[in-house]
């Protein structure tokens, strides 16, 4: 007969209560958000301002404080999809190897060598004595070391082949994979640190596929601003100056580059491409002023950087020395004395803000490779607010219309279904909040669609009960059979929709993913409310009233 054990009743009602409590913070979105922001800020900085104390006190801490994240299309912000040019690192590796290879070939293989320009990711060395080739290859092979990966056991990190009197060195496939992975991890970390330093709320920074990074920052003005923050290169190097020139087209020669000066219009420097020290060896950078009171950035190297810098300055007293940032010579001071201790300052035509930004960038470290931006989207906060308002109106109108239709069609049972619909929505919000899921504009559409479809399971059951009533086996039996027989249709119908939602989730991106999540959770909660909650109502009502006839 129609009975639901007590423990089941408690579980069902408990879940409903949890849904209501979990969804409640979303009704006070601004307050809860201020509370959460203040708590996070206090945790991060350790100090608490009066404003933060007020914000924290504004929402009682014993209440749940999880709220749904608003997606970029609702809150406004910027979205970037960047592709990391992982091959850049191959070139850097090859460039860094060249001086050592040269030294070894000259001293051990006794050949004269020169580097030939080839593809960026290879080191092409020509030797003058073909008969010494075997020995030369052996020497170069000495540079290779085994790669330790899951698949590449026994592989070396370098592939070495010969072509006539040339030796060509490239990174092996296994090493390329390993390098790419390191490059990506490093890039992600640096992007994350730079975005975090700007202190925006809940940025999303994710690796996508082989060589891409997805960056979503709510509340930022534009994608261009975000790009600036990330800094497409921000590579700091210290290079040897070969000579100064005023001709931007002047050929620099192999192993050298021609960079413009950031300070002087029309001044160019021919530099040794291989830096003496790079920004990677910096341990600290902070804004400062030089002895004339001009804004400057003070920096300090780590031990190996300090030694390289010290040795170099000792050997090149009197020469010019270039400080290069992003392909521009910031300044090229003369080395007056040996600089030991590994610290110094960079002066240039900076404003105090610029020195501050530069210091932040230097501290965060350089990106290992360039990034190309494949996709960028900016949504203004007003447009997002308009969308929220429009979505809210649509949800209210839709819900009211559905409720009216249900009550008109099923009377008291329609009321049960409507209450279940309300519980369904609050559970949906509670789960979205607890998951930290992101609500997007298509997500709101998903919720409205759920409102429409959620009653389907109830309709199936009610229609079935109605049919069973005709066979006149009594109302209790009709209700029982109604639920029993409608079950297979409910399960099959909803599972197939879940399949579509799952595929959307795995293949979709951004807003579409948000839609898939809301649709899926909405389906689960609607089935739960239809087969458990509405049933509990119906059964409880029936036990109280014991009606002889039933009108559905």
């Amino acid at each position: 007969m129609l009975q639901i054990p007590l423990w089941k009743r408690i579980v069902i009602l408990g879940l409903c209560a949890l849904g209501l409590i979990g969804a409640a913070p979303n009704l006070f979105y601004d307050r809860v958000e201020r509370h959460n922001d203040a708590v996070a800020a206090v945790e991060r900085t350790g100090v608490e301002t009066a404003e933060q104390t007020a914000a924290i006190a504004d929402w009682p801490s014993w209440l749940p404080s999880a709220i749904v994240n608003l997606g970029l299309d609702l809150r406004g912000g910027a979205h970037l999809l960047a592709e990391v040019q992982v091959e850049d690192v191959y070139k850097q590796r090859m460039d860094a190897m060249w001086p050592e290879v040269r030294r070894a070939l000259v001293s051990e293989a006794k050949v004269a060598v020169r580097r030939i320009k080839g593809a960026d990711s290879e080191l092409r060395v020509e030797i003058d004595k073909p008969e010494a080739m075997e020995k030369a290859v052996e020497v170069v092979r000495g540079f290779a070391s085994p790669v330790v990966t899951l698949t590449g056991v026994g592989q070396n990190d370098l592939d070495i082949r010969t072509e006539g009197n040339q030796i060509i060195v490239t990174l092996s496939e296994a090493e390329q994979v390993a390098t790419d992975d390191r490059t990506m991890q490093q890039s992600l970390e640096i992007v994350r640190r730079r975005v975090d330093a700007a202190g925006t709320r809940e940025p999303t920074i994710q690796r996508q596929g082989q060589d891409r990074i997805l960056i979503e920052v709510p509340g930022i003005g534009s994608a261009a601003e975000l790009k600036e923050l990330i800094g497409t290169t921000a590579q700091l190097t210290f290079n040897q100056v070969i000579r100064r020139t005023s001709n931007p087209e002047e050929p620099a020669g192999i192993g050298n580059v021609n960079y413009p000066s950031a300070e002087e219009e029309g001044a160019y420097y021919i530099l040794d491409e291989l830096p003496v020290v790079t920004g990677e060896e910096l341990v600290d950078a902070r804004p400062d002023f030089d002895q004339n009171g001009r804004p400057a950035v003070a920096f300090r190297f780590n031990t190996s950087g300090a030694r390289k810098f010290g040795d170099y300055t000792a050997e090149h007293v009197g020469e010019l020395f270039a400080i290069v940032l992003d392909g521009k010579v910031i300044s090229a001071p003369q080395i007056r004395t040996h600089i030991g201790g590994g610290s110094g300052i960079i002066t240039g035509t900076f404003t105090p803000e610029e020195t501050n930004n530069l210091a932040v960038l230097l501290r965060a470290g350089a990106l290992p490779a360039k990034m190309e931006f494949l996709e960028e989207r900016t949504v203004g906060p007003e447009l997002g607010q308009d969308s929220i308002d429009a979505g809210r109106v649509a949800a209210i109108v839709g819900t009211v219309a559905v409720v009216v239709l249900m009550i008109a069609s099923y009377g008291l049972f329609g009321v049960f279904a409507s209450v279940a619909l309300g519980l369904n929505l609050s559970m949906l919000f509670a789960i979205l909040s607890a998951m930290g899921a992101t609500l997007t504009l298509p997500g709101i559409a998903g919720i409205v669609l759920t409102v429409g479809m959620a009653v389907d399971a109830n309709v199936l059951v009610f229609e079935r009960i109605k049919e069973e009533l005709k066979t006149a086996r009594g109302p209790a039996r009709a209700i029982e059979l109604g639920y029993e027989k409608a079950m297979s249709a409910i399960i099959d119908a909803n599972l197939t929709t879940v399949i579509a939602a799952l595929i959307l989730f795995f293949l979709g991106s951004g807003p579409v993913k948000g839609f898939a999540v809301t649709l899926m959770i909405g389906l689960i909660t609607s089935v739960f409310t239809a087969i458990f909650v509405t049933r509990l109502f119906v059964v409880t009502w029936f036990a109280r009233k014991r009606p002889k006839t039933l009108i559905v």
């Binding site: 007003e382 109106v393 219309a401 504009l441 669609l449 429409g452 079950m487 297979s488 119908a493 959307l504």
Partner: protein, 326 residues
């Protein structure tokens, strides 16, 4: 007797297959027409699939498309489309336009300089103008997005059919897939006919339509499966008819509530998701039609085995989940 709204009479006995040649033939003709139309007229792909940039402008002054175009022409951006956007949710003095710029030769995403130049040019003719959204997609990503979109629709169709095949019979699965192809073709077709913007959200809508349409189809199939066991000697055509009639009031009510919610969204939801909501609204209508007139017709044409009750492999269909109890 309490008042009850009856969208469908208590007991119906409509012969849904009387006009089968017309309804099914009509559906086939429409699908063919939609495919031909899409093939010849093409789709108005958004930047997600074509690459390029869209800029949304918002101003208190009226939109003058000609002046906008003139302001932008010195920038040599290639193909630029400017359309004014109208929506009942806008304020009286809110004038919105959508500017689409083709992908620029040699650039992945459009450069910030170009966007700044466009914004500056528009500001000279209308100082009050603002730019609530700027989106730019490079050709590399757009190519991949279109591939993913096609894969996801295909994967969803195959997965759903596999499920139907497992739970029902292969004839049902064929019926379901034909109905799904029908729904997708007609939806894509209407986007081609009116040259509505076809972007990633429309793919999301297509997948939702798949889910909804199959939901509807399954409910009728479920009843058919049950009736096939119950009325072993009744001709298939009559069993089909009976099943559709029995589930008719549910079909109408569920489609009705879903449509009401969607129409509310269509009217009040703002122009940003209008295309998406339109696709779903249309899909619900087409999906409801197809589960009765397409899926059932296919099952009817293919015939189905009638000895359901004899070998209860995995339990007789209709009550497989009956032991789930509250």
């Amino acid at each position: 007797m309490a008042f009850r709204l009856r969208l469908v009479p208590e007991k119906t006995n409509i012969d849904f297959f009387r006009w089968a040649p017309v309804t099914f033939g009509g559906s086939v003709a429409l699908v063919v027409a939609a495919i031909v139309l899409t093939f010849f007229m093409g789709l108005n792909f958004g930047i997600d699939f074509r690459g390029g940039t869209t800029i949304r402008t918002d101003s208190t002054q009226a939109v003058d498309v000609g002046a906008y175009r003139q302001a932008l022409s010195p920038l040599n951006l290639g193909d630029v489309t400017i359309t004014e956007v109208f929506d009942p949710t806008f304020r009286d003095d809110q004038h919105v336009a959508q500017i689409r710029i083709q992908a620029q030769e040699g650039d992945e995403a459009i450069t910030p300089d170009t966007i700044a130049a466009v914004e500056a040019a528009l500001q000279t003719i209308d100082p009050a103008i603002t730019f609530p959204s700027v989106e730019s997609v490079g050709p590399k990503v757009s190519g991949e997005l279109i591939k993913t979109a096609i894969y996801s629709v295909l994967t969803a169709t195959v997965a759903i059919c596999a499920y139907i095949w497992l739970r029902f019979e292969w004839q049902f699965s064929v019926g379901a897939v034909v109905a799904l192809v029908h729904d997708i073709a007609l939806t894509v077709g209407i986007f081609s006919l009116f040259q509505l913007k076809f972007d990633l959200t429309i793919i999301a809508a297509l997948l939702t339509i798949l889910g909804y349409s199959i939901n509807d189809t399954v409910v009728v199939f479920d009843r058919l499966r049950e009736n096939l066991i119950k009325f072993k000697s009744m001709p298939l055509r009559d069993v089909c008819n009976l099943s559709v009639n029995e589930t008719l009031s549910r079909t109408v009510l569920t489609s009705g509530t879903t449509l009401i919610a969607l129409i509310a969204l269509l009217v009040f939801g703002g122009d940003v998701i209008r295309g998406f909501v339109f696709a779903m609204t249309w899909g619900v209508i087409v999906g409801t039609y197809s589960s009765v007139y397409v899926a059932k017709n296919v099952v009817l044409m293919l015939g189905v085995k009638r000895d359901w009750g004899k070998k209860p492999e995995g339990g007789p269909g209709g009550t497989q989940f009956a032991d789930i109890d509250a």
